[in-house]
């Protein structure tokens, strides 16, 4: 497919925005590898991370091709500064304990799964291919993390308390899941992606169903946090990037 301006620029930016979500969350999950609460989770968490990193790779590669300015997917992934990343604040939040990690993953997957499902009806064939893959992958993330949220919420006193704390700390970042930036809105108008804002009801239902079994309350949020979609991040992202970009920044222009 070829696109005329201004759609083309908006679409490239949107692909990068979505790629950033997947890269940063995949990076966070990958930090668990070798340190999980049980060996079985040392396999499950990287499986989810690999799904996300694979999507990031696809999205960046497509963005690089469409853009046609000689950037590679790695240039996009590794060679921007923190203000240029467009990922949700939610996905950059530090792992915290296992309760935080599975809840963050559930929040993200429960919004993105219906988003990709709806994007299957959109017009870009290549993106539809990514969406078809993501729909299945994220369904397993919802299932796996949902099961854990229920077990921790309805487990021991300690786990229930940790789960409630995770909800309290992470829920403030969930509004942003449904707030497309300007580039994304252009793509929604052009029929290239589904409207993230339209997925809120499905997300609410998924979360409410799981929270009911987990004896968790959906909290009232006084001050929802957003900004990632405009490149305004929490302090956590800079540290993440200093690891992510270490090699590319220290040894510029080399092949690995």
């Amino acid at each position: 497919m070829t696109y005329a301006q201004p759609i083309k620029t908006a679409f490239v930016e949107t692909l990068i925005t979505l790629g950033d979500d997947h890269l940063i969350l995949g990076h966070r999950l990958s930090e668990w590898c070798g340190h999980a609460p049980m060996l079985e989770e040392d396999l499950s968490l990287p499986n989810m991370a690999l799904d996300l990193l694979g999507q990031a790779n696809n999205l960046y590669s497509y963005a690089a091709e469409l853009e046609g300015e000689g950037r590679s997917e790695d240039d996009i992934a590794f060679l921007r500064n923190a203000r240029q990343y467009r990922n949700l604040l939610l996905v950059e939040r530090p792992n915290g304990d296992f309760a935080h990690t599975v809840l963050r993953q559930l929040y993200f997957a429960a919004a993105m799964q219906p988003f990709w499902q709806a994007t299957l009806n959109c017009s870009d064939e290549r993106l539809n291919g990514f969406a078809g893959k993501a729909v299945k992958e994220l369904a397993t993330h919802i299932r796996h993390c949902g099961e854990w949220v229920i077990r921790l919420g309805d487990g021991t006193d300690e786990s229930a308390q940790r789960m409630r704390k995770a909800v309290e700390e992470l829920h403030i970042y969930t509004d942003e899941l449904f707030q497309p930036n300007a580039a994304m809105r252009i793509c929604v108008e052009a029929g290239l992606i589904a409207d993230p804002a339209a997925q809120r009801d499905i997300w609410n239902t998924t979360i409410a169903t799981i929270f009911k079994d987990a004896f968790l309350q959906v909290p009232e949020i006084a001050f929802p946090q957003q900004g990632g979609r405009e490149g305004l991040h929490t302090e956590a992202l800079g540290h993440l990037l200093s690891e992510l970009q270490y090699m590319q920044r220290t040894y510029p222009g080399m092949t690995w």
Binding site: C33, G34, L39, N57, F98, E243, M254
Partner: protein, 335 residues
């Protein structure tokens, strides 16, 4: 698959001459021994120790490579490394499973590792300060491991052999992944070449030590060979590894850090092989006994994972108990 109730029961406890001879005859006939079969206590103990050590090595082995997952230089390298380290976790899991058929629990084995009673491969007590170390571990450490593991696929104990078949099949990409990383560095800038050579200098000798002490000094070797738990001696495998690896280094222009390394046409019954220098066994034993640069960090990381995960494991068990209770209550109510 293995009823725990049967383990340790039956006539095996007597270990008469006739029993031991019958057992050895089965081994000699290349019969596989399965978990519930009668077996000498020493055979069982040797397997529990060896499979446990092997499993621990996989699990601790996740740490030096895991150290670079978040810093891998490209998306492709990041995914490959994450998949590889994940595989190591899987291999640890398969091996713990194989050991568990002998009546020891994973929790017991984990406690042994964390308390320092159980050993793991000494190679993982060296640090990975540069990206080249990730390539070097794949090429040398996985290469050495494959030399060890391929014969284990024919080990006399069925569950261990089956686990190793799976491990070897999955590991086939690991060494290639490592060599490709090293090759890319060797073909790169001077700085990259230097990084690769420096890493080879640090890993070469520890890799040779992975095969364990010389045959003459290896206490468990003879009996393990007789029981076909082991198929080749430490020195045989080490020689095979050197002979396979030296040409691979030459091909990419890296220098093996051994001034005594020399082709010897007489070696290997006239087929030729490399003579190589003496290993520093003092270093080997120092690292095995806990004095390596990373021993403390490795165990501390495993302990932290185990301790920090306790509340998660307990919560899952508590939830399962609640669910069973509720199901029972619902059933009573329905009746």
């Amino acid at each position: 698959m293995y009823s725990q109730g049967l383990i340790g029961s039956g006539s095996e406890n007597e270990e008469s001459e006739a029993f031991l001879a019958r057992f050895q005859a089965r081994i000699d006939a290349e019969e596989k021994i399965e978990p519930n079969d009668a077996m000498p206590l020493a055979y069982r103990k040797t397997l529990i120790r060896q499979i446990g050590q092997h499993a621990h090595s996989e699990i601790v082995g996740m740490l030096p490579e895991g150290n670079w997952i978040t810093r891998a230089p490209t998306l492709r390298r990041k995914m490959a490394l994450l998949a590889k380290v994940q595989d190591e976790g899987g291999h640890g899991l398969y091996l713990y499973s194989a050991a568990e058929t002998l009546g020891v629990s994973r929790e017991e084995m984990t406690e042994e590792l964390l308390s320092g009673r159980a050993k793991y491969s000494s190679i993982f007590n060296y640090p990975t300060p540069t990206w080249a170390d990730i390539g070097m571990i794949g090429w040398l450490v996985d290469g050495a491991a494959i030399m060890n593991q391929v014969p284990l696929c024919r080990c006399s104990f069925g569950p261990y052999a089956r686990a190793m078949v799976r491990v070897c099949r999955e590991e086939s990409f690991h060494q290639r992944q490592g060599y490709e990383i090293v090759m890319t560095l060797a073909e790169g800038t001077d700085e990259q070449k230097e990084m690769a050579q420096d890493s080879l200098n640090r890993w070469w000798w520890p890799a040779l030590m992975m095969f364990g002490p010389h045959d003459a000094d290896s206490s468990n070797s003879d009996q393990s060979m007789l029981w076909k738990i082991k198929r080749f001696t430490n020195d045989e495998l080490r020689q095979k590894f050197v002979d396979a690896t030296v040409p691979q280094a030459e091909k990419i222009g890296l220098k093996i850090p051994d001034p005594d390394l020399k082709w010897n046409p007489e070696k290997n019954d006239g087929a030729g092989g490399y003579d190589f220098g003496a290993l520093d066994w003092d270093e080997f034993w120092r690292v095995v006994k806990g004095g390596g640069p990373m021993n403390r960090d490795r165990i501390a990381a495993r302990k932290a994972a185990w301790e920090n995960g306790r509340w998660v494991r307990e919560a899952a068990l508590a939830h399962a108990a609640k669910r069973e209770e509720r199901a029972a209550t619902a059933k009573v109510a329905a009746e």
